[in-house]
Symmetry: C2
């Protein structure tokens, strides 16, 4: 197979004609495939069904009643053992870590952070957004009118030279989004060096905060887990311990819609947050917390549980990679990641093709994540990044979806090449 | 028994001496009684234990996965049947209606309401607080730096002459807290006339909103339930349908810490809220929602369920009233309510005595709601209102607690009388 770039316009037109026939036949199948979000599949959810039957009546206090603003101690211990944090550095939330992040953002913006003013004391508020990144992170900034500054997300984390230059000279930059392990969507893992550089930042803004979304802390696809440095520890070493909020959840461990979440931070931050939080709620659902504790039980047990997840979804990642290799390798029209964990494969087409590919796929019944979604303001400057979410569809559906996807990629690439010839 | 006011100083001193002996003997018992919050008791929580065992696998979609921003239709139908609302006027939340209120406040303050600016577009934001009222409502305002204006809560609702005068002439007044049925703590019920007057307000502020906390919608202590007018209907009649947010929950129907909550509003408001809400969360816990639906099932069934609650807590209300009558009636030193529902008895001492009573009770091991808590800024202008929460303690504990409480009331009243003589 030769790369498309080596072919002349006539050859390309001929290939396109055949591809269009395949595309049309897909269109006639009235497919309804959805690869738009990082959703666990039914088999994954089934792994945790026992949680629904757990008896909670043996707990030492009445879980059914009011109380327990920061959650039950057992859940704090459990997350503490995974993230190497002490229980007084953790607050347990409800079924959504996204909500915790949103709430934390709101408090920082309008009410203030421990030892610092509300961000809105500055007329302009800016936030660093390593990209490609998680669309829901960026949407929070957009809703709140925060100016997002895109930072290149490299192999080992954000471009730290750029981060330092901005953070240490601009008081209006109030924080940075980070998905340090199996980053959404590129799957990269922040290196020790990068994490230490982040911990060592000397922000101009006294109320600067890292939003450290450890969404995939135990979500390995391979046997040897990729450990990352404990950001809070690294921050403590240099007296920066109030600079970071850590988030995690069981959304992709137990149930995506009915799990539990945590926010972790320095004792100082936790005390400050609890004070504000006590005005909003009397506490999250402790019944579900204790159920989770009894089901998950220990870090060791969680690791075993996550291996069962991997057994279900690793073949799906492999299938996607296999089809991409088979269909697109050597054509010189795209690159893609092969992550060791997390929920996504990140795909880069020719510049200026992503929107068209997503549109073509959608027209043929395959819903993918919106093009541009992985960048601030949904604006991919090169219109090339596409997030592939392989976990939810069955292997059969996935095969069909990826075959169709590759057809769309090829057609769009040919159009681009002909246009440029 | 003669009223204390008819006695001379020497007589009063003699009575006080005896009372102090009783008080001291209570003190020596090292009591630990808590009547500070409106918490259901264990027997009430037990009424809903079946909810914990309900199988949710028969639902038509996968409740365990992401999705369902506004909740499952069955819960919307259920609350709709209680509150006489349509399903597209309801959004289902998590385990805390307080959180829904806080979030709604935050959005109104900083992000804007349907068809109106964020409240903070005005330099000052004011809010009407019928008092005595619910301390957690006032705490939200206080946290957000909103100026609270206390409005007298009369027998049939807020003093509407005052409300109208303020709301219709001051653009910076952005809303009013309302607990329309069995108001916390006075237990009063808004009359039809007052509700119509509220619905007919013509606020100067185009972004004015009622926060209508129907916390005790089905929480009757007597057989004949006290119905209130549907505020949304009344608002619709005069084209004011966007003016109200309604809140309700099952916190005191099923589990105080693990129930479900709703916000209801005009279709227009609901659409606007869902749009903002989609940035914060992918949806609340649907597993718990469906469990609640299967357990509660219908309005008729809920009424039967609430009768069981009443059978448990009515004797506690009766006991409090009985002891107050026995100990304090005809002494001319206090008045109290005898509510037909809700969670509280509101008690008024002599002016200037409430703080002292609460302090004395606490010193002897009885924790009551903080004095002043029922007013904005925790500042009861007359220092006389005390909220009594009879539901949580056992009847025995309640008897002891109220006897001690009455001793504290008597001593404080005598001190006040002597001081004034």
């Amino acid at each position: 197979m030769y790369s498309y770039a080596q072919k002349n316009t006539n050859e390309l037109k001929k290939i396109k004609k055949e591809l269009l026939e395949s595309y049309t036949s897909y269109k006639m199948q009235n497919l309804k495939l959805d690869m738009s979000r990082g959703k666990p599949c039914i088999e994954q959810l089934d792994l945790s069904n026992d949680i629904l039957k757990i008896d909670i009546s043996d707990y030492k206090t009445d879980l059914r009643n009011y109380g327990g603003l920061d959650g039950i101690i057992e859940i704090k211990e459990l997350f503490g053992s995974i993230l190497n944090l002490s229980t007084d550095e953790i607050i347990v939330g409800g079924n959504s870590s996204l909500s915790l992040m949103y709430d934390t953002f709101i408090r920082a913006m309008y009410l203030g952070v421990s030892g610092g003013n509300p961000w809105t004391k500055n007329e302009k508020v800016k936030f660093l957004c390593p990209s490609p990144g998680y669309d829901r992170h960026f949407s929070i900034c957009e809703l709140l009118g925060i100016e997002m500054i895109s930072i290149d997300l490299l192999e080992n984390g954000p471009d730290m030279d750029r981060v330092r230059e901005l953070v240490e000279n601009d008081e209006t930059i109030k924080g940075m989004w980070c998905v340090p392990k199996y980053s959404n969507p590129t799957g990269i893992i922040y290196s020790d060096t990068v994490i230490r550089e982040i911990a060592n930042l000397k922000p101009k803004a006294e109320n600067f905060r890292l939003f450290w979304d450890n969404a995939y802390m135990v979500h390995d696809l391979e046997d040897n887990s990729s450990e990352i440095l404990n950001i809070l520890d690294e921050c403590k070493k240099v007296g920066n311990e109030d600079m970071v909020y850590i988030f995690a959840s069981t959304s992709k461990v137990t149930f995506a819609g009915a799990g539990i979440s945590i926010i972790a931070a320095s004792k100082n931050n936790v005390k400050y947050i609890k004070n504000q939080l006590s005005i909003k709620t009397i506490g999250s659902d402790k019944v579900n917390q204790y159920r989770h504790y009894k089901f998950l039980n220990s870090f060791e047990n969680i690791k075993l549980h996550m291996k069962k997840h991997a057994m279900i979804i690793k073949p799906k990642f492999d299938k996607v990679i296999e089809i991409l290799n088979m269909q697109l390798k050597n054509l010189g029209i795209a690159t893609w990641t092969n992550p060791k964990g997390g929920y996504f494969i990140s795909f880069d087409s020719y510049d200026g093709c992503a929107k068209k590919i997503i549109k073509m796929a959608l027209d043929a019944g395959l819903k993918m994540t919106e093009a541009g979604a992985t960048f601030p303001y949904k604006n991919d400057p090169n219109d090339k990044n596409i997030r592939i979410a392989p976990t939810f569809p069955s292997l059969d559906e996935l095969e069909k979806a990826m075959d169709l996807f590759c057809i769309c990629v090829k057609i769009s690439s040919i159009d681009k090449l002909i246009e440029n010839n």
